[in-house]
């Protein structure tokens, strides 16, 4: 890795923001203790679930759209090398520059150097999961470049020095009162003045953000975005949004830098007809989101530019090829980041997104994060595949039919094989006991002794390592006699089978 660029922070694990500091159960316990958080989440996820079902139910061919979306994504992954090369040539042919980044650090270095080359001290950013994933804002900051998030929720999170907790609504864990306090405390205009007339009405708070950001849109020369889709055959990039901050960033600055995961490519222009129907209805619960922008390279006629004069596309791996190599898990790369699975998940809607540690929370995060990073020994991401009840609601709503429960089970197997030494030792012991009738009978007899430790027929707390079970649920005490003893006694007493 080049060290020519000074000031690049060491990012945790080399992957950016894909790992939390704590295991899921510990992080979740903390979140569950926060009453305000649970109220905010219950309200928001409930509201968005209702909106989604209303607009999905009115589409007569929803299942056909899902089937097509899923097939396009599977086809894309199977032909990924040729499609990436095709996309690269198409973007270059229309005046764009394509860069490739193996990991978060390399992507951050590319963007920082590009912005630095323009002499920029500031960049404006469109909400993007990829740049959250790689920790771009921190990397730019370390190089003396201020990145301003322009999506309202991202701005709230950034001002509060917090982390996003939802893919679509990053500040879903905050209510209006909390947001008003964040603005009053941290929002300052060019002259260092705080916003005035700030109530806690969402319209007034939105107006404050509009005033704060507008002047930045009109004068900042460099913008950074992600991409929802990129069409290989035409080199067309697509950003789906609501507020108009995306249009501002994609249209006004002289230089546009787009960071995109390699799995976001789709083969043909026509494929967008599927995703432009699936995404908004699944995501915000609208028939169509307010704004979708598409561009192919740089635009303009007769020397008058329409949009940026310079366009850079950064194609990011950062673990995607690792996920692709897993034949069961690779379907996680179908994800179009709609967040429908978060809103229906009984786990997410109680713990919120921070408990997952990674940029990608909820059911999709529970499979995507460990697939991207792998699960080494003592890896906090090894706890994520267990952060689910396997109820399957996520699979039902997924617009591209990712079978999240099956991937969860698959990853649980991997996590168990690679980690938890005690669990492996216990399983080996059990296998030895159960493989002989004599040993099994003796063990069952021995277990009866454990009855003396139980109260009310249950164990409420056991010492480690068994506390792993009793931390979360009671353990029933062994019965007075086993089934085989009962059966033998029944035969002796002449009570044969009816």
């Amino acid at each position: 890795m080049s060290t020519a660029f000074l000031g690049m922070p060491e990012l945790p694990g080399g992957h950016g923001n894909l790992r939390g500091a704590a295991e899921f159960p510990d992080a979740a316990r903390q979140a569950l203790g926060n009453r305000q958080l649970r109220d905010n989440l219950a309200h928001a996820t409930g509201a968005i679930r209702a909106k989604r079902s209303a607009v999905v139910d009115e589409v007569p061919d929803w299942e056909e759209l899902r089937a097509a979306g899923s097939a396009v994504k599977a086809d894309t992954l199977a032909r990924l090398p040729e499609l990436l090369e095709q996309l690269e040539s198409a973007v270059q042919a229309r005046g764009g520059v394509v860069h490739w980044a193996r990991d978060a650090e390399e992507a951050n270095r590319i963007v920082t150097e590009l912005a630095g080359r323009q002499g920029a001290r500031e960049v404006v950013k469109v909400k993007s999961m990829a740049t959250q994933e790689i920790g771009l804002d921190a990397a730019l900051d370390a190089a003396g470049i201020t990145a301003t998030e322009t999506d309202l929720a991202e701005l709230i999170v950034q001002l509060d020095n917090d982390r996003p907790s939802h893919i679509l609504v990053p500040a879903i864990h905050r209510n209006r009162r909390e947001i008003a306090e964040i603005f009053a405390e941290h929002m300052r205009d060019d002259q260092g003045r705080p916003p005035t007339d700030l109530g806690d009405d969402p319209a007034a708070l939105t107006e404050a953000a509009r005033r704060y950001l507008r002047e930045k849109f009109l004068r900042t020369p460099v913008a950074v975005s992600g991409a929802n889709f990129a069409v290989a055959e035409t080199g067309t990039l697509c950003v789906v949004e609501s507020e108009g901050n995306g249009r501002m960033c994609l249209t006004l600055p002289d230089t546009l830098i787009t960071v995109m995961g390699i799995e976001k490519v789709v083969p043909t222009w026509r494929d967008l007809e599927i995703f432009l129907q699936l995404l908004p209805r699944s995501s915000t619960g609208e028939r169509m989101n307010p704004y979708t922008s598409m561009w192919s390279g740089v635009h303009g006629e007769g020397g008058a530019p329409d949009g940026p004069r310079e366009f850079h596309l950064v194609l990011l791996d950062n673990g995607r090829t690792r996920a692709l190599a897993d034949d069961v898990g690779r379907q996680a790369l179908h994800c179009i980041r709609c967040s429908a699975c978060l809103n229906v998940c009984p786990v997410y809607s109680r713990t919120g997104g921070h408990a997952y540690g990674s940029t990608y929370p909820g059911p999709i995060g529970a499979i995507l994060s460990p697939l991207l990073t792998g699960m080494d020994a003592d890896d906090t991401n090894a706890s994520l595949p267990f952060a689910s009840t396997l109820c399957g609601a996520c699979y039902d709503v997924c617009p591209v039919k990712i079978d999240i429960p099956s991937v969860l089970v698959h990853l649980r197997g991997q996590a168990t094989r690679s980690g938890h030494r005690t669990e492996r030792a216990t399983m080996r012991l059990l296998a030895w006991l159960m493989s002989s009738a004599g040993r099994f009978t003796a063990a069952r007899r021995l277990m009866r002794l454990a009855r003396f430790g139980a109260r009310g027929g249950r164990f409420r707390r056991l010492p480690p390592p068994l506390s792993g079970w009793t931390d979360h649920r009671d353990l029933p005490a062994p019965p007075r006699r086993t089934f085989r003893q009962w059966w033998a006694a029944r035969r002796r007493n002449g009570g044969g089978a009816r």
Partner: protein, 211 residues
Amino acid sequence: MSARSEILARVRAALADEPAVRQVPREYRQHSRDAGTADLAEMFGERLAEYTARVHRATPEHTPAEIIAEVLRARGASSAVVARGLPARWRPGTASIGLVDDTGLGIGELDRTDAAVTGCAVAIAETGTLVLDAGADQGRRAISLIPDHHVCVVRTDQIVGTVAEALAALDPLRPLTFISGPSATSDIELDRVEGVHGPRNLDVIVTPVGC
């Protein structure tokens, strides 16, 4: 090894099991049931209005130019920017509204302009969506973005039923903007607030061909 060749090599290695290339089943609807009927314009207007855009129907007696003048006046607009290719018949004749042809106006000048008047490339009935493609009657993207009031004229023959029909009618090599209502956010408690960075007011005039 360059990042490019290394990533491509990793992708090829990850696909060593040669997953099957699947034929994409396109059994979803290409066309709307109401294709080619007056119901399509009706549906377009209703669905766009649900996003709180104001929708107006022009007739030979109440022309687009007259409605444009009315909606600009109603919003207190005294200036409106237009592309040079905006048809003469859509330009209000009243002196009270100053139409400014876009001759490469600066961002500051656009910011001081009250409104923008454009045509569109395609409109989608099922989703209530306008699509602009920087055509002669629309101009560059900044025009319909910076002024706080966007007035858009849609000819009934530009309205299609489905998203699929719209994409088939569009050229992907042009800069495209899909607009479904005024800018909006639901980032605070999922409470929808209209009017963030894009135009806070959207007036759409649906007109028969030739008006």
